[in-house]
């Protein structure tokens, strides 16, 4: 008896018996079941995936019976989806698998993720301070056009970044004035920003470039070539030549986490988003904090846009009407999916970027399946806001105009 009692008190054992541990392990195993069947491991027998998947399902059921129903069912779903993907992968040819899952998938995932990260972190600052920003899409689009315009006329990608960020900030300032000072409905205002950006960029794209294309030779945002990784088969193509903005986005996630959760400024921002009246009472200038956060969100979203037009494609700078094509909304989805936290938003953006990159590569199987695969991020977000996988909780005063007394 004494040994049993001692074992129960052992913190490691107690942690292992915690249902949330098995729940998360189940989710992880479900993903691992699918991972087994794709390169580099690429098991050709489906039994491996089925075995690991069943373990995940068992873990899930155990978690459900221990009272963490939501997490448990998540693990069960993860196990079943893992088995399904494993079956699909083992049935398809090795050549196709290698075409979809190679090292450059990592690089491409990061490339698709980066614009989302910039916009999502921008949205995080805005919404943490209590201003809903569905104008991210428009601010990103403005950054994309004016960034490439700046790089063209200014002769340097640095000018492009500055001009793009500046224009994004100005548009955000206009939005902030309407949302904060005039207390306009923030959803309506954000919608207006998106329309405005669509019209302004389209108008000036035709005015300056005849609506055709950006001239070749415009300075683009450079890549970071890591010399030590040149000869590695995997790391070379995966992370050896990533764009500066990709590394910057990773740094941004860390910095924004520290700023929002570990500094007095972050505390003020969150106070304005949770309870502006209380923040005002203790001497925080709610309007100033909100203005700052909204303008910052515009600058960050616009930087994501500049990357999209001036660094995303290897062939040189490019722009097209409505080029962001809903990325601002995906960023918003990533923010919600990530529960208004930097790491969560980054993880969701990574998931969405990965699914976009995979969708592009699924063309080797079938063009129509690849198109349909694009539904995934939106369907996942719908599931997330529906509270099926853990409830997302926005800041309490998000979207509510504040009136000084």
């Amino acid at each position: 008896m004494s040994t049993w009692a001692a074992r129960l008190e052992n913190p490691v054992s107690a942690r292992l018996r915690d249902p949330s541990t098995t729940g998360y392990a189940g989710i992880f195993l479900g993903a691992f079941a699918a991972f087994l069947c794709i390169p580099p491991i690429q098991a050709r027998s489906v039994m491996w995936a089925i075995f690991v998947g069943i373990v995940a399902v068992v873990f899930g059921i155990w978690t459900v019976t221990r009272g963490r129903a939501r997490l448990g069912w998540g693990a069960v779903a993860s196990g079943i989806i893992g088995i399904g993907l494993g079956v699909l992968a083992t049935r398809s040819s090795v050549g196709n698998l290698n075409a979809v899952f190679d090292a450059s998938l990592v690089a491409q995932t990061f490339a698709f993720t980066t614009p989302l990260v910039f916009a999502a972190i921008g949205g995080l600052f805005s919404e943490r301070s209590g201003v809903v920003n569905i104008g991210l899409e428009g601010m990103m689009l403005m950054g994309a056009f004016w960034g490439v315009y700046g790089a063209d006329k200014g002769g340097s990608w640095i000018v492009g970044l500055l001009v793009g960020a500046g224009v994004g900030g100005v548009l955000a300032l206009v939005y902030a004035y309407f949302a904060i000072h005039l207390r306009a409905d923030q959803i309506v205002g954000g919608t207006a920003v998106n329309f405005l950006a669509l019209g302004i960029t389209g108008y000036f794209f035709f005015q300056f470039y005849n609506g055709n294309y950006i001239p070749s030779g415009v300075s683009t945002i450079p890549n970071v070539n890591i010399p030590g990784l040149k000869h590695s088969h995997f790391f070379g193509p995966a992370i050896g030549h990533l764009n500066i903005m990709i590394w910057a986005s990773l740094a941004l996630v860390i910095v924004s986490y520290i700023v929002v959760f570990k500094t007095p400024i972050g505390l003020r921002i969150r106070a304005c988003g949770e309870h502006p009246r209380a923040a005002d009472t203790v001497g925080i200038n709610v309007y100033a904090v909100r203005y700052g956060c909204v303008v910052l969100s515009g600058i960050l979203a616009a930087l994501g846009g500049v990357y999209l037009s001036d660094g995303f494609t290897s062939g040189g700078a490019t722009f097209g009407d409505n080029m962001t094509n809903g990325r601002g909304f995906i960023a918003l989805a990533a923010l919600i999916f990530g529960n208004w936290r930097p790491a969560g938003a980054f993880g969701a953006a990574l998931l969405f970027g990965f699914s976009t990159a995979v969708a592009l590569r699924l063309q080797v199987y079938s063009a129509s399946a690849a198109t349909l695969f694009n539904v995934l991020p939106y369907a996942l977000t719908l599931v997330a806001v529906a509270g099926v996988i853990g409830r997302t909780v926005p800041p309490a005063a998000d979207g509510k105009p504040y009136k000084k007394q």
């Binding site: 569905i134 309407f178 005039l182 207390r183 306009a184 409905d185 959803i187 309506v188 205002g189 919608t191 207006a192 920003v193 998106n194 329309f195 405005l196 950006a197 669509l198 019209g199 302004i200 389209g202 108008y203 000036f204 035709f206 005015q207 609506g211 409505n322 094509n325 809903g326 909304f329 918003l332 989805a333 919600i336 079938s366 063009a367 129509s368 198109t371 349909l372 694009n374 539904v375 939106y378 369907a379 977000t381 719908l382 806001v385 529906a386 509270g387 105009p401 009136k403």
Partner: protein, 410 residues
């Protein structure tokens, strides 16, 4: 001037105290501004867009005149039914757009009256387009009247179902309808791309290299009453849209359902206290909203498009324009009708209808988005407009008593 317009608007300070729901603020705006705020908003939007046009080296006055003519609005100076007249032809095309915009505008307006913001009009419109095309291509040997009826009803239900998802999520788990309808929009966009695209189930059967749907059967086409089908004449859908305006008004103002919907929109808590089932009304209002948008998709598909290409999807913006139509029309039937005409005229007059020596359709087409953006921006900020208007009235009539007839009655 009518009695209502003589009532001075409420001071902005009071108008902003209780703005818990969108519907409350909308109701306040309705009492406060009447037709003044929309009118000023439109003028400001056109002025500011004119400045953009001027700054880029085009003459705004001539540009606006050409857009006016491009929309066929000059038809009223010399009315004729002869479609060889450019003005008459342009007017039919403007009215085609107006038909769609009335319905997508109602889709946004109805949800507004229940305190919800339906951004998903575009997705619900696609749901209607998809179902109308699918059923229009199938059953080609059906009785024309029944075929049209089947397509319209099914497309309307598809829109209702699609919006109903958002309503259901709002009612059951409290998911914000703005987020869910945005996500549903993109799901509809990619579903439509898949269905009409290469290898998709609704791709045409003749040429599998072209991502475009089959033409619907002749029995599913709505009859044209002005012009010919081959020249994209005006179909009878405009009367259906006008009827929808009446239905919208009647539902809201003459039925129990409308009363409950408005009560929930004005204040969900007191509606629940009064014995109204709030959840049921949220789902119902959203579904009716989607029904209008689905009907819009059916009208377009059966009325003049007949088929849909994958590339059309990205260029369609009628669902989003519906937001501006509803906001500018203040969610009233008459207002939605009028602002649908304005945006329909802008939509056609700045693009296909435009022949101008000073501004190209590519520029003017984007001008529509700018005007639309400015209108939505300023309608949302009625405080600004009202403040300007108030100060003007105060200057004219100092010492006007604050207590007004509407406040005394309330």
């Amino acid at each position: 001037m009518s009695q209502a317009e003589n009532v001075p608007p409420e001071p902005p300070e009071e108008a902003a105290i209780e703005r818990n729901t969108i519907a409350v603020s909308i109701a306040l705006k309705q009492r406060a501004g009447g037709i003044i705020v929309p009118a000023i908003t439109v003028v400001i939007a056109f002025l500011m867009s004119g400045i953009v046009v001027l700054a880029t080296g085009h003459n705004p006055l001539i540009a606006y005149r050409d857009i006016f003519n491009g929309a066929g609005l000059n038809w009223i100076f010399h009315p004729t039914t002869d479609l060889t007249s450019t003005a008459a032809y342009n007017l039919t095309q403007t009215l085609l757009q107006t038909t769609t915009l009335i319905l997508t505008g109602l889709a946004v307006a109805f949800a507004f009256r229940c305190g919800m913001f339906n951004i998903g009009g575009q997705g619900q419109y696609f749901a209607g387009i998809i179902v109308a095309n699918w059923l229009g291509v199938e059953f080609s040997s059906m009785n024309p009247f029944l075929h049209v009826l089947l397509c319209i009803v099914a497309a309307t239900l598809a829109g209702a179902f699609f919006a109903g998802i958002a309503g259901f999520l709002k009612a059951t788990v409290g998911a914000h309808e703005v987020i869910t309808t945005i996500m549903l929009n993109w799901i509809a966009i990619y579903l439509a791309s898949w269905l009409f695209g290469d290898g998709g189930p609704l791709q045409n059967s003749a040429d599998k290299t072209v991502p475009i749907s089959n033409d619907i059967a002749d029995s599913a086409k709505l009859p044209d009453f002005w012009g010919q089908q081959i020249l994209q004449g005006l179909h009878i859908g405009i009367f259906i849209a006008l009827a929808a305006l009446v239905v919208y008004w009647a539902i809201l103002n003459r039925t129990t359902l409308g009363y409950e919907v408005r009560a929930v929109g004005f204040n969900p808590e007191s509606a629940a206290y009064g014995g109204i089932n709030v959840k049921k009304n949220l789902i119902r209002a959203m579904a009716i909203s989607g029904a209008f948008a689905g009907l819009a998709g059916a009208m377009d598909m059966l009325g003049y498009l007949y088929h849909y290409a994958q590339s059309d999807i990205a260029f369609s913006s009628v669902g989003f324009l519906g937001i501006a139509v509803a906001l500018l029309g203040r969610n009233t039937a008459v207002g939605v009708g009028l602002s649908a005409l304005l945006f329909g005229a802008l939509l056609f007059g700045t693009t296909h209808g435009l022949t101008s020596s000073v501004i190209k359709p590519e520029l003017a087409g984007n001008l529509t988005y700018i005007i639309q953006g400015l209108i939505v921006l300023f309608i949302g900020a009625d405080l600004l407009i009202l403040a300007v208007w108030n100060s003007r009235r105060k200057l004219r009539r100092p010492g006007h008593p604050k207590v007004t007839t509407s406040e005394a009655a309330a």
